[in-house]
Every structure is written in structure tokens, then in C-alpha cells.
């Protein structure tokens, strides 16, 4: 029943739009011949179509050309005045400019936030602790100097590895409380320049030039908090002084 209705609708639609094939016409005729109801419906639709065609209201005339041309000429005057300022008042261009300015501003802030800690000598804060997991590094980057401090802990031993890359020599000093920490080892792992270590009470100094890896191992003597002071100098100028806390 539903299929038949859809089919009839399709055929009627085709008939009314004048887009019916001979085959469809034949099918439609069969449906109409077999159903008085469909035939009445179809005739009413044809009649409606005919009446609609005949009921076209007569055209009314109008002349708006003078008014429209007046409006257009006015808008042209406005437009031609605007043309000079268009690049500045075009909302799209304004929006793009605003986005650009905001982007530059945000970019500058983000760049400053990322680099300020690493670039300003003597004022930056290194983040981390000796309890940091292995390979978690603290980096210092300034001009041609790269200093990475990689602290980690294995059982009761606290490792502090230094990886440096510098053109001119850097003097590194690490000081600690002997009551808190016992020095187990302090030595170069690799160095591309002269090696120089100075071990004093509660202090380790070493020099680094080119690519250098240096390792210090401490044993903590108690469970109270303590820390290390790390100082970097280059040509008698202070690069930074940092304190690394031992959390356990």
C-alpha cells in the first residue's frame, strides 16, 4: 500500500512537472484506470495546476529606477570617500591586524617566560631536586654556554651529573654541608679540554671547556632536608648561583 502510494506520488510528480516518460505515463494510466479514488485525486491535481496557471494576477507596473539610482549614487559617494580609508576601516583587515598584534604580544610574553629564566645571568632559578628521576635535567642556556644538571637518586646515593658545552672555560663550584652529605665521588666522565678538580671541605670545584661531562656522587647521612649550592662563573663573571634541595 505504502509502496503504491509512493509510486503514484512519483508518477504524479513527473506528470505535473511535464517530465514523464512514456513508460511512466503508461504506469500512471494503469493506476488511474484501476482506482476511481486515484483518478479523482489526479484530476483535482490537474485542475489545480490549470487554475494556478490561469490565476496569475496581472502585472502591476512600477518605476523605482530614479530612487534606486539616487541611492546608488549616494552610496557611491560614500564608497569613494571610504575607499581611501578602506584598508583601515575594513573590519576584516582590522580583525586580522588585531589578531596579528595580539599574536605578537602573546608570542613575546611566551618567549620571555620560556627564556627569561635561562637567559638572565645570576637571576634565574633552576628547578629540580636530587630526588628527581633519572635523566630529569635542569638546563641553563646563556649565549654560547649550555649547562645541564641531571640529578638523580639510587637508594641512598645522590648523583649529580653535569653536562656542559661552552666555548670559553666555565668554573663550576658545588658546596654542601659535610654534616649532611658525604662525598663519594667527583670526577670527569668526559672532557674535551684540560681537566681541573679542586676538592675542599664541603666544596668541589671543577673547570669545563668544550664538551664536558662531570659526575658527583653523595651519600646522605640523615633524613633531614639539606641541599647543594651550585655556582657557575666565566671569566670571573658570575653566571648563576643555585640551590638544589634534597627532598629526602
Amino acid at each position: 500500500m505504502w509502496f503504491k502510494q509512493t509510486e503514484t506520488k512519483k508518477l504524479l510528480k513527473a506528470k505535473l512537472s511535464g517530465n514523464i516518460s512514456a513508460e511512466q505515463e503508461e504506469k500512471l494510466q494503469k493506476i488511474l484506470d484501476n482506482s476511481k479514488e486515484e483518478q479523482i485525486r489526479f484530476e483535482q491535481m490537474l485542475e489545480l495546476d490549470k487554475q494556478l496557471k490561469e490565476s496569475k494576477p496581472p502585472d502591476e507596473t512600477i518605476n523605482v529606477s530614479a530612487n534606486v539610482m539616487h541611492k546608488i549614487r549616494n552610496s557611491r559617494t560614500i564608497r569613494s570617500n571610504r575607499n581611501k580609508l578602506d584598508p583601515f576601516i575594513n573590519p576584516m583587515i582590522l580583525r586580522l591586524a588585531a589578531v596579528l598584534v595580539i599574536g605578537i604580544f602573546l608570542g613575546a610574553i611566551i618567549t620571555w617566560m620560556i627564556t627569561s629564566e635561562k637567559l638572565a645571568p645570576g637571576t634565574e632559578t633552576l628547578v629540580g631536586s636530587l630526588t628527581a628521576p633519572a635523566n630529569q635535567e635542569i638546563s641553563y642556556l646563556y649565549q654560547n654556554n649550555i649547562i645541564k644538571v641531571v640529578p638523580y637518586q639510587i637508594e641512598n646515593l645522590y648523583y649529580v651529573n653535569f653536562i656542559l658545552n661552552t666555548r670559553s672555560e666555565i668554573q663550576m663550584d658545588v658546596s654542601f654541608q659535610e654534616n649532611d652529605l658525604k662525598l663519594v665521588k667527583a670526577n670527569y666522565i668526559a672532557s674535551s679540554a684540560n681537566e681541573s678538580i679542586n676538592l675542599l671541605t664541603g666544596s668541589i670545584s671543577f673547570a669545563a671547556a668544550g664538551n664536558t661531562s662531570f659526575q658527583i656522587i653523595f651519600k646522605k647521612l640523615h633524613g633531614s632536608p639539606t641541599g647543594l649550592n651550585i655556582t657557575a662563573q666565566q671569566a670571573n663573571a658570575l653566571l648563576f648561583t643555585k640551590k638544589i634541595a634534597l627532598e629526602k
Binding site: K9, L12, K13, L16, S17, N19, Q44, M45, L48, D49, Q51, L52, K53, E54, S55, K56, P57, D59, E60, T61, I62, N63, V64, S65, N67, V68, M69, K71, I72, R73, S75, R76
Partner: protein, 195 residues
């Protein structure tokens, strides 16, 4: 032969004649775009009557129809730099006009109870005295989208292809919408003792 009849005739022209009319509008459009603003008057004079009558048939209000006819031409002029020459100018104009008409009908519905409702129902009994008036009244009872296809097809005598472009829908959908519109119209007529 009136100007409107001329325009209507253009729809059924084929081959070179149709192409010539089609191209003539494009030449005028190019003139307008080349700073010959006065050339636009040719297009206004050519199409203002069918556009005005489209609004009259959709809105039944002369003031609105006149105002919107002007607005159609002003909008078309402003959008002329974006006109694509693969389209017919008058079809493009119709598209602007029908959108304005449908927007106007939508606005009216938001202000139901105001002046506009007076036009349709109060005239119903009077108009039912004649079949064609009854039919016009019934067309006004249709949903806007159905009314638009009836007006464009029967009163503005657009082809299916032109209707598809004007309404920005596929031709198949035009046929379907027109069929639905006829069914709804038949139901309205049936319920108002037309048959």
C-alpha cells in the same frame, strides 16, 4: 507586449536568442563594473516590474513591495563585484529578491498581531466569491517555502532550473517541494469548501 511579457518570453527563448539576452545583461553588468554607473539603470528598467510583482505576490503590500524592490537593486548593485558571469543576471536578482521576501515574511511572523495580519484573513470571505481569489487566498495560507515555489512557478513563470538557482536548492527538490505545495494547497482548498 508589456515589459513583463518580454521578460517572461525570455525564459522560453532558446539557442542564440536566449544567449543574446543572457549576454546583453552581462555586457551591461561589465559596463557598470567599469564605473559606468548609469548603465545600471538599463537593468533596473528591464527587471523592476517582475521583481516588484514577485514582492506583491509574496507580501500583498504595495509599500513593502516597492521598498523591497528598491532594496533588491541596491543590494544587487553593491554585490555586483561578486557577480559570477556563469549565472544569468535576472536569476541572480531573483535570488536576492526571494531572500528579501522570505526574510520579510519571517519578520512579520515575529510581529504577529500587528498591521500585517489584517491583510489576509479579513479578505477571505469576500475573496472566496471567485475561484481565483479563493485560490490566491489559499496560496497565502501555505508555508513560506511552499508559497515561494507556487509564486515562482505559476505567477513569475520561472523554469525549474531557474527556481532551483533562485531558491538555492537542487532542481529535484524544487519538483518535490512544488508537488508538496500543490498537495497542501489542495487540502486547504478542500477544507475551505472550494471543491
Amino acid at each position: 507586449m508589456t515589459e513583463t511579457e518580454n521578460i517572461a518570453d525570455e525564459h522560453i527563448l532558446t539557442g542564440n536568442q536566449e544567449k543574446t539576452i543572457f549576454e546583453a545583461d552581462h555586457i551591461t553588468v561589465r559596463h557598470v563594473l567599469n564605473e559606468s554607473v548609469n548603465a545600471y539603470e538599463i537593468l533596473i528598467n528591464k527587471y523592476q516590474v517582475p521583481i516588484y510583482n514577485l514582492f506583491l505576490r509574496m507580501l500583498h503590500n504595495q509599500e513593502d513591495a516597492e521598498e523591497l524592490t528598491q532594496e533588491t537593486f541596491v543590494k544587487a548593485y553593491e554585490a555586483l563585484p561578486d557577480f559570477r558571469f556563469e549565472y544569468r543576471f535576472f536569476s541572480w536578482l531573483y535570488r536576492i529578491a526571494i531572500n528579501l521576501a522570505l526574510n520579510n515574511l519571517r519578520k512579520r511572523k515575529r510581529f504577529v498581531g500587528a498591521e500585517y495580519l489584517i491583510n489576509i484573513p479579513e479578505e477571505k470571505d469576500e475573496k472566496k466569491t471567485e475561484n481565483s481569489e479563493h485560490l490566491k487566498w489559499a496560496v497565502d495560507q501555505l508555508k513560506d517555502i511552499h508559497k515561494a515555489v507556487i509564486v515562482l512557478k505559476y505567477y513569475q513563470q520561472l523554469s525549474y532550473q531557474e527556481m532551483a538557482f533562485t531558491l538555492n536548492i537542487p532542481e529535484k527538490k524544487v519538483r518535490s517541494r512544488l508537488y508538496d505545495a500543490r498537495i497542501k494547497l489542495k487540502a486547504i482548498l478542500y477544507n475551505s469548501n472550494y471543491y
